[in-house]
Subunit: 385 residues, 2 copies
């Protein structure tokens, strides 16, 4: 990435625009790596947040991976760029197996996930039909959050494992996502959730091994548990994605500070309502997303926390309403903070509640360094499926 | 649009996928036209919901417009397709005036919106600098919802009008958006809001005229007020967008029924949780959006109402949770409805809370007819700015 005279400064950039502070990105990546290194497992970063090749290259161990994907479109784009070690971490729909096979025939070690006998049977049959042992992980429900098999249903898990292993697929191990960590209160609760995630998943791998089945991979992952895990014995890899960018939800959870948030939306002041103390900007939910996940946290950030053009937060200034292309900015309800007197045309940066959701509204990142107003590079995103 | 053997049936379509029922679309358009015709104003349909040329062609009076846009990207795409009469209906940021001029130099009658002296001054200056009288509407705040000048601030409005008219721009009139109609309860309240929207906006036009200023255009618009307006005397045009597709929010407001909703997301069952009564599908918030705008209505539709593959709603079956690429489907809390027993790989359609938000997550529509499972056409969307 080199500075280009052809790229605009923030003053000249069309708005709304997605900004990515590459120095914060690199710092967030380094911090996660430093935390995980002494614990043992390798990092299989989740591509779902960034969906951007340049970010993948900064966060992966090497040019070929490993990486986690949330869509086959991501896998196809990464494969075209030479990435070879991928886990598609959502339960496979049988109708998607042909796309999996097409990727594997291009030399990609793409593994998939099942959590039912029906899906395992479809994967085994497809493996036989294509003469390719599809590497498959069994999803474990470590916290009641979403999908997966609970450890207490070990018999079912072993049956699924046997269906895969004896039916023609490659049983590669187990994986989980402790999504309930997003609802923990306090460091101690996240530490406990990380240990629960580890223990449940390692326990399931042991159940498979005790039944004579292979389980070389034990894959866990969520950004909160990855950041707070104290020990990861028995875990072979950690998947996490939002840690690269962080967001207000993660800050509310205590997993980062607002100074760590690497993505923001640049907006322009288009009007004001002096009576109501409102500033109107040209970024609404189309630029920020409709995600209101901080609503249930101690500090509700509404549609985003407002910063000056250089990214320094104003006290208690938030986007209190978002229409499609209009954002309404005001002091947080209950605050005595006075919104800044900004002329029409002034620029602001807005930190997102949920980086994955906000980034998904844009097709590229405007990349810059902390403290700089010069865009240094444009990095494309891969949206869609 | 003709049936193409190369396009898939719903059974073969990759999921998640955005579906558009063209028969419902056409019926919704015809119904709005039939409602407005005896009332007088022309329809300037809002492009923000569909962002699709084929939809624009079905809803516009003619090939050249008129149409309303929410972004200059929409205007640029429509201009390339020959549309010539457009209103960019969000307060103009001065930094966008060069793009407005570029479009006008291509022969587009693109009008813009201001609601402050500062913005009016920038528009007047730009008009003089480019020797092009930019057609400009003053935004009126008819309901305290968002932006605009209140009628009680008539002096300021006249001052803005004079700044435009005498400063080198073309004062074309007034416009408003009665966004508070989204929070009305019952038909009578929407009818009253429609009359308030009309009266406030026409009243503002009369204030300008009384001051010797031109105000040929009186532009109002929101889907609820457009559908419920009983009289539109003095109004010259109506802007509305979501009426083409409708959504659960509009159904909750009584503006349509679920049978009118023309867009849905096709999803595939990837798993289930028998204990919890959950069905897991491969459509999460990335496919549905995070919009939870029915949360405050009498019936909360969570992340969407679930239908069978043909679009027939299941009783009380909703997407109760949405992660990025996972949706959790279950009976609405409090309901005794039993979720259907569906095999893995089965397909479902999910009706959206907010059509604009859900459609924005996709780059194209899979177009089909009511009752058919065959995709007849692919229509591209224009996302971004």
């Amino acid at each position: 990435m080199s500075a280009s005279a052809a790229l605009p400064s923030l003053e000249a950039l069309d708005t709304p625009a997605l900004l990515l502070d590459v120095m914060r990105l690199d710092r967030n990546i380094a911090r996660m790596r430093a935390h995980l290194a002494p614990l043992g497992p390798r990092l299989r970063p989740h591509f779902k947040t960034a969906k951007c090749l340049e970010v993948a290259r900064r966060v992966m161990d090497g040019q070929e991976g490993p990486v986690t994907v949330s869509t086959l479109k991501e896998a196809e784009q990464l494969a075209a760029a030479g990435v070879r070690d991928m886990l598609y971490a959502a339960g496979i729909a049988p109708g998607k197996l042909n796309r999996v096979t097409a990727l594997r025939r291009r030399g990609v070690d793409l593994s998939i996930v099942v959590d039912s006998l029906q899906a395992a049977e479809a994967v085994a049959r497809h493996s036989r039909d294509t003469a390719d042992r599809l590497p498959t992980l069994i999803e474990i429900d470590s916290d009641g959050h979403r999908a997966g098999i609970r450890r207490t249903h070990g018999d079912l898990m072993v049956e699924i494992g046997r269906m895969l292993h004896e039916g023609g697929a490659e049983l590669r191990g187990v994986m989980t996502h402790a999504g309930e960590s997003y609802h923990c209160h306090g460091d101690e609760a996240i530490i406990a959730m990380a240990e629960q995630e580890r223990a449940e998943t390692v326990g399931c791998a042991e159940l498979l091994r005790a039944a004579g089945l292979p389980a070389p991979v034990v894959s866990i992952g969520s950004t909160p548990t990855a950041r707070f895990a104290q020990g990861l014995d028995g875990v072979t890899e950690v998947r996490a994605g939002v840690f690269m960018f962080f967001d207000l939800f993660m800050a509310g959870l205590g997993v980062c500070t607002t100074d760590d948030i690497a993505v923001s939306v640049l907006a322009t002041v288009t009007g004001y309502n002096a009576e109501k103390g409102w500033i109107i900007v040209d970024a609404g939910w189309m630029a920020m997303s409709s995600d209101r996940n901080t609503r249930g946290q101690a500090v509700d950030q509404f549609f985003g926390l407002v910063c000056d053009v250089d990214g320094i937060p104003y006290p208690d200034l938030v986007m209190i309403k978002a229409n499609q292309e209009h954002g309404v900015i005001a002091a947080r309800p209950g605050s005595t903070a006075v919104p800044p007197a900004l002329p029409i045309g002034a620029k602001l940066r807005i930190l997102p509640n949920h980086a994955c959701a906000t980034a998904s509204k844009h097709d590229h990142y405007n990349v810059l360094k902390t403290g700089s107003r010069q865009i240094d590079a444009i990095w494309q995103r891969f949206n869609g499926w």
